[in-house]
């Protein structure tokens, strides 16, 4: 392949302005991400308005920086407070918090930083090599392929999400319904706009994300306070010893590869890959510490995996325009605000942006590694600030941000409404991620199904002549039916009927052979151990 645009991308990254925004993004991301309960999606949603006045390249570089900063911030709270920002760092808390209790909190954070760097870097190298290949092939992606892919994406998100499946599907259905608001792009008919001119273009994604992720998390966090949570641990002696490094090498290598591939799949790759990595490391563990009592391998593997997955989830977004998870959905919104429609043409038409963003990830990960270790003391201090002081500040930022979207109060109202909705959802055990992703993918799905039918002249059977779309639909059917088949098979063999709550959708998507004799994969076993909604909830 031609590496000139890649190298030019480095020239873009090394522009002082872009370096500065990368640095700024990582620091701000870490600071906000360290606030209990605020994961990467919430952090990006809250900080999105910072980018409105900026050029496309620095703003996306900054958001990418915020993204890894926030992921690491989540690691800090997971280790020190047992309060993960999102589910992928819930796995980190399983070993990280026990380590902190043993007085090895600093070491856990150091290991997390090193593992994140390794996972991120490995994934970027592979991304650099394969993204253009995928983009070439992406021209073959027409409306039928997009329709099939979004259908699969929505199903995977609903399947993988936390809580019960019926609740996840209900949330996804609500998201699909919300996506229908606005002018029908094919007939010009208005749907559910209640005579409001503001709604003719449909509900906007950004205020919804700010409400459901930002405001709702704050409301939920206020109620939870610190009372229910675990005690805040201290962190010192950050650098792992040579013996620790030796123990971390294997988990990092395995986690990186695993994370990269699972991250490509639509539907929350980071969590699944962290779970899978944890499961594998647990099985391979040779000591000296048992899992559950603060094994450093159990921090290093999942941290590598979730960062590798987080990075590789940029591939479907930047090459196909399909956000693979809720965080990428927020990124999708950020790109649209900048007037960039992510898709197969991005590499060709906007190489500066594409390679600038990709290459900034090298720098961002390095910045993260360099900054994370000395700043750990600062984070610990942030965690000491009372929620009643922090929360109003964040809410203020959210409201101002929402106002600047359309320079009117309407979006602020949307944030408030969806903030309350998100809060009620969380309180009642509904994961908001399927709602957000179904909302984003919903209009893509509807439009592309209708476009496909127009292309086919109304004959849906013609999809048989499109191998990619057909394959995706077959995978869809397998993911949908495999758990049911498995359950039937189990009950016939007298197995426990109520078990299949997390049927390893990752495994299902890569071609499962659901036999009754098979032992459940690492995904499933660790999923059961992983607390569904943040350990502090119990």
């Amino acid at each position: 392949m031609d590496f000139t645009p890649v190298l030019e991308g480095f020239a873009v990254v090394f522009e002082p302005q872009n370096l500065l925004f990368c640095l700024l993004g990582v620091v701000v991301g870490m600071v906000i991400g360290v606030l209990p309960g605020l994961g990467p999606a919430a952090t990006i949603a809250i900080l999105l308005p910072l980018t409105y006045g900026m050029d496309a390249v620095p703003s996306i570089i900054m958001l990418a920086g915020i993204f890894y900063g926030a992921i690491y911030g989540g690691t800090v709270t997971a280790v020190l407070l047992k309060l993960p920002g999102e589910t992928s760092s819930a796995i980190t808390a399983l070993e990280g918090y026990p380590m902190a209790r043993k007085g090895e909190g600093g070491k856990a954070l150091g290991a997390g930083a090193i593992a994140s760097f390794a996972g991120g870097t490995v994934a970027i190298v592979v991304l650099t090599l394969i993204a253009p290949v995928i983009a070439d092939f992406a021209l073959a992606f027409g409306p039928p392929e997009y329709a099939a892919l979004t259908l699969l994406g929505i199903l995977l998100v609903a399947t993988i999400s936390n809580g019960t499946k019926s609740k996840a599907f209900a949330a996804a259905a609500a998201g699909l319904l919300l996506a229908t608001v606005g002018r029908d792009g094919f007939t010009g008919e208005l749907r559910y706009t209640a005579g409001s001119l503001e709604l003719t273009d449909g509900l906007q994604f950004v205020p919804i994300a700010m409400g459901v992720f930002g405001l709702a998390e704050i409301l939920y966090g206020l109620e939870r306070r610190r009372g229910g949570g675990a005690a805040l641990m201290t962190a010192d002696k950050i650098l792992p010893t040579r013996a620790d490094m030796k123990r971390m090498a294997g988990p990092i290598a395995r986690g990186g590869v695993l994370g990269f591939f699972l991250g490509l799949l639509p539907g929350g790759g980071a969590t699944v890959s962290a779970m899978a990595s944890y499961g594998i490391e647990k099985r391979l563990n040779k000591g000296p510490t048992r899992f559950g009592q603060g094994a450093i391998q159990g921090v290093a593997g999942p941290e590598t995996a979730n960062n590798a997955a987080a990075t590789s989830s940029f591939i479907p977004l930047l090459t196909l325009g399909i956000p693979a998870n809720a965080t990428m959905a927020v990124m999708f919104g950020a790109l649209l605000i900048q007037g960039i429609t992510p898709g197969p043409q991005l590499v060709a038409t906007d190489p500066d942006l594409f390679w600038g963003v990709v290459n900034s990830m090298y720098i961002g990960n390095l910045v993260l590694l360099v900054l994370a270790i000395p700043l750990i003391g600062v984070f610990v201090r942030i965690l000491h600030v009372r929620q009643s002081i922090l929360s109003p500040i964040v809410v203020l930022i959210v409201c101002i941000g929402a106002y600047t979207i359309g320079n009117r109060i309407f979006e602020v109202m949307v944030v408030v409404v969806f903030g309350v909705l998100g809060y009620l959802m969380k309180k009642n055990g509904f994961d908001p991620a399927p709602l957000i992703l179904a909302f984003v993918l919903g209009s893509l799905l509807e439009d592309n199904v209708r476009r496909s039918l127009l292309m086919f002249g109304g004959d849906a059977g013609q999809v048989a002549g499109r191998p990619i779309a057909l394959t995706l639909l077959v995978v869809f059917a397998v993911v949908l039916l495999a758990p049911i088949a498995l359950r039937i098979a189990r009950s016939r063999h007298g197995g426990p009927p109520g078990a299949p709550s997390a049927e390893g959708p990752g495994a299902a998507a890569t071609g499962p052979e659901p036999g009754p004799g098979q032992s459940p994969g690492p995904v499933e076993s660790s999923a059961r151990e992983a607390p569904a909604d943040g350990p502090s909830r119990t």
Binding site: T200, L222, P392, L396, D447
Partner: protein
């Protein structure tokens, strides 16, 4: 779970915080328009009814960049996307006619979108005063290179089994293509996309045979040879694509293009309007602005406000008449 009294305190604080933000933000908006005396009394808000980053937005920013030099004040661009620009346009029409709030208009909002939306939603120029015209953005029909189409005749020859992409209903892209297909008697299946860029991707990937998009969008791919230019819809040839014939030369009457102009609310004092027009004339005469037009394949149409109003009214009538005569329905792609 019942509300615990413990949690109410901070919640009230949150609500109050939100309210503060709201009030502060409102305050900031009304602030700029209170000036009296000499014009301009402060920064002039340039309202754009489209998202940041799109072609309309970029034109607004190119104009705004020259404001400091020409009018002595800065010109912040305010994006108020929604309903194809109707929200922003109405909002400006209702504000004080003191010249501190102006809007960048897309002709299609008045001339084409009005053919699709119900009457009460249609935006007219009645409450606005156009200051001057800016430029024309041409529509071009392009074909996937593999189809072998090079002229309209080639497309006519394949009538019946053709799929064609548009940039969405109520756009110039759709109107131009429907009128051409109707006049040329081409039978085909319309596939509307959300904007020009996905329509372009679809032509490149062979998902549709032809599509009508804006010249600026098509140019890089025309140069790369992945798509073939078929015909341009404006009344004269495009200076950047001299060898592509217009639909008119091919014998079809489809004068559709996207025009842009700057307007302020009706009723502004003459001095305000004159100062603004002089400032805009100075901006559009600058080298930077001219270069911007060239880089974006825009043809300058820097005519007076009166001419713009007359021209757009003529176009609106003509489109309405053509659509009515041909019995076309812009909003029936899905039926």
């Amino acid at each position: 779970m019942p509300w615990s009294p413990r949690s109410r305190g901070p919640l009230t604080a949150v609500a109050a915080g939100g309210l503060c933000a709201t009030l502060a933000a409102c305050g900031a908006v009304t602030d700029g328009s209170a000036g009296g005396g000499s014009y301009p009394s402060g920064p002039i808000s340039m309202v754009v009814g489209q998202d940041a980053g799109g072609s309309t937005d970029r034109i607004a920013r190119a104009v705004a960049d020259g404001s400091k030099g020409a009018l002595g004040v800065s010109m912040p661009v305010e994006n108020q996307p929604g309903a194809n620009g109707a929200i922003a346009t109405q909002q400006v029409a209702e504000s004080d006619p003191d010249g501190q709030r102006i809007v960048l208009l897309n002709a299609s909002l008045m001339t084409i979108t009005s053919l699709v939306v119900p009457e009460e939603e249609a935006v007219t120029l009645d409450d606005l005063d156009v200051v001057m015209g800016l430029s024309r953005d041409d529509y071009i029909m392009v074909a996937n290179a593999d189809t072998g189409y090079e002229t309209v005749e080639d497309v006519v020859a394949d009538s019946g089994d053709i799929t064609y992409g548009t940039a969405g209903i109520g756009t110039g892209s759709q109107l131009a293509q429907l009128l051409l297909f109707d006049q040329a008697g081409i039978e085909g299946r319309e596939v509307p996309f959300d904007s020009g860029s996905p329509a372009l991707t679809a032509v490149m990937g062979g998902q549709v045979d032809v599509a009508t998009i804006q010249v600026g969008e098509a140019m890089p791919q025309i140069e790369a040879g992945t798509i073939t230019p078929i015909t341009i819809f404006s009344e004269e040839r495009n200076a950047y694509l001299e060898d592509v014939p217009t639909a008119k030369e091919e014998g079809y009457d489809v004068p559709v293009a996207q025009y842009r102009a700057v307007a302020l609310p009706e009723g502004a004092p003459k001095e305000v309007k004159d100062t603004l027009r002089k400032g805009l004339e100075e901006i559009t005469a600058s080298e930077e602005y001219k270069r911007f037009n060239e880089e974006n394949y825009l043809t300058p149409v820097e005519i007076s406000g009166e001419e713009v109003e007359k021209e757009w009214a003529r176009l609106a009538d003509e489109y309405a008449q053509q659509v009515e005569e041909s019995g076309l329905e812009l909003g029936e792609a899905g039926e």
